[in-house]
Symmetry: C2
Subunit: 319 residues, 2 copies
């Protein structure tokens, strides 16, 4: 099969079709999404080698006796060992021996086929178009913010960063009726949030504020600095994005105002699928271009443009 | 009256007895406690000038028509403006214009008399000896940890730092039946926790662990570094102590394991008074020496010994 393989350099190449192991299924990939983390892989993140990609929608193609056969699915990306204390406590996503689809010790989604444990799968409702389903994983990651920092219509929220992640976070938080502000550098991105009840600001023009929750989704060290000046005492700063380098944290900036700094990562697929099914979130305006898998290298290059949004890879066209 | 006044240097001197303003009471101070923060004041913390000290127990001595007259009291140390959005939301302790007893814009407790708003007072139950009541403020600060990081008998807790704060935090957390470990550098301090159901370790001998909650009460940058290696995924690191300097935080150390870093400061007096009244916590073993106010400078010097515990100042003896 065709795959986008990374081994220090990305390359489109023919590789053997993977064989599902015990408890695993074979998925024929329809669409895959390029995420910022994939671009980090290109820079050596995790020292990953293998088939890249972790956002996908596809159809179960094996084994023949699988109850999932023929089902359209999306899949959670963390594969726990199933035996350690964390897995046994329901924290398989944090298993220290975990493999991660397209990111750590498990081949990914930029290919005609992938394998995943059946336990990782979620059925895609018939009503959900594939160009919507492909957003299940990133939308779930956005929903995770609301699990660690619950909101209500009384909550004042600032989301920093107008990339796909920041936009999706602002959308889902605004659904709740919370007073959501989004700050970013790209007027054309901010324009995607304004019609959804989000007040938008260029980061350079952000007025003084005193937010209950600040979500750092800008991926820049200055974002965290600004977040800590904008959160109210006893408020929460949600750290959603990582970056290389260290942030010089003043302990008094947390202790004196009793601020919480909360890391968060992957989120709940069922809620994301329901929002997509019910049309409460429509991320399609985030899609900039779709490339066939055979042109996957172009897709990666295109996705690296500063201020880019979502790039998709159609893995069927290579059949 | 006699007072320990700081104006770049601490000095025992005669100053005018303070006059309570609107809503304030005059308190005759019986005992005061020296806190680590007082030692920071000596180094220039907050640029404070005035009468030092914020831990006290005393008796209300005026005004004549106060409902509190003659009542034995302890007092909360933050004085909000009463009018800003934070005060109106019940966060007077975080008012940006707040004054703080003996720490910011309000004379403190190392004196024969102090003034405080009556709203800051808590009556000391008859059964509570003054050598116990003097611990209300620091014990309340310890209880605050459990408000930001609730525990149950299933919770595994590591407290780092065996000073008075770390010891009191370990005691109150162990009351709940949680599995509490305490790490520090002083065997004689650790010995004060072991009989109270706390497992103790020299920091250098701390075995590997995977704690739900790690409380950083060591006041050293290496404490936070160690805390982040010992907290489990989705666990909480409570930052209780500040220090000068910045900690180089790796954002991935919070985001990937979804760890929370929670600052916390002052706590609830009523719970602290109840624990003292019921004998569930007895901090008297923390008392090393009591000095009369006239020898307050010696008290400060003594309190600065490395590895020191609690030093008290008896403000009645100067009468």
């Amino acid at each position: 099969m065709l795959a986008l393989y990374f081994d220090g350099q990305p390359a489109i190449q023919e590789v053997p079709r993977p064989v599902p192991g015990d408890g695993e299924v074979l998925v024929r990939v329809h669409l895959a999404g390029v995420c910022r983390t994939d671009l980090e892989v290109l820079k050596g993140y995790h020292g990953f080698k293998g088939i890249m990609g972790h956002e996908f929608v596809g159809e179960v193609a094996g084994p023949e006796d699988s109850a999932w056969l023929g089902q359209r699915v999306v899949g959670e990306i963390n594969i726990g060992c199933g035996a350690c204390d964390l897995c046994r406590r329901g924290l398989a996503g944090h298993c220290r021996q975990r493999r991660v689809l397209g990111l750590k010790d498990h081949d990914g989604a930029f290919a005609q086929y992938l394998t995943l444990p059946a336990a990782n799968l979620h059925a895609v409702p018939r009503e959900v178009l594939e160009v919507l389903a492909i957003f299940t994983e990133p939308l779930a990651a956005a929903l995770r913010v609301m699990e660690v920092a619950p909101v209500s219509p009384s909550t004042r929220v600032l989301v920093m960063g107008d990339g796909p992640l920041g936009l999706q976070v602002s959308w889902v938080m605004a659904l709740s009726g919370a007073d959501v502000h989004l700050a970013g550098h790209h007027p054309e991105h901010l324009a995607l949030a304004a019609p959804r009840g989000v007040a938008t600001f260029l980061s350079t023009d952000l007025p003084p504020g005193d937010y209950d929750i600040v979500v750092e989704a800008s991926g820049s060290p200055s974002g965290l600095e600004l977040a800590l000046t904008r959160v109210r005492p006893r408020g929460t700063v949600v750290m959603k994005s990582t970056y290389v380098g260290r942030y010089p944290l003043d302990p008094a900036a947390l202790v004196v105002p009793e601020v919480s700094l909360v890391g968060c990562r992957c989120g709940p697929f069922p809620g994301a699928l329901r929002l997509l099914r019910d049309g409460r979130v429509d991320p399609r305006p985030l899609i900039e271009r779709t490339f066939p898998l055979s042109r996957g290298l172009e897709a990666l290059t295109y996705a690296q443009r500063p201020g880019g949004l979502k790039v998709l890879i159609d893995c069927r066209e290579a059949d």
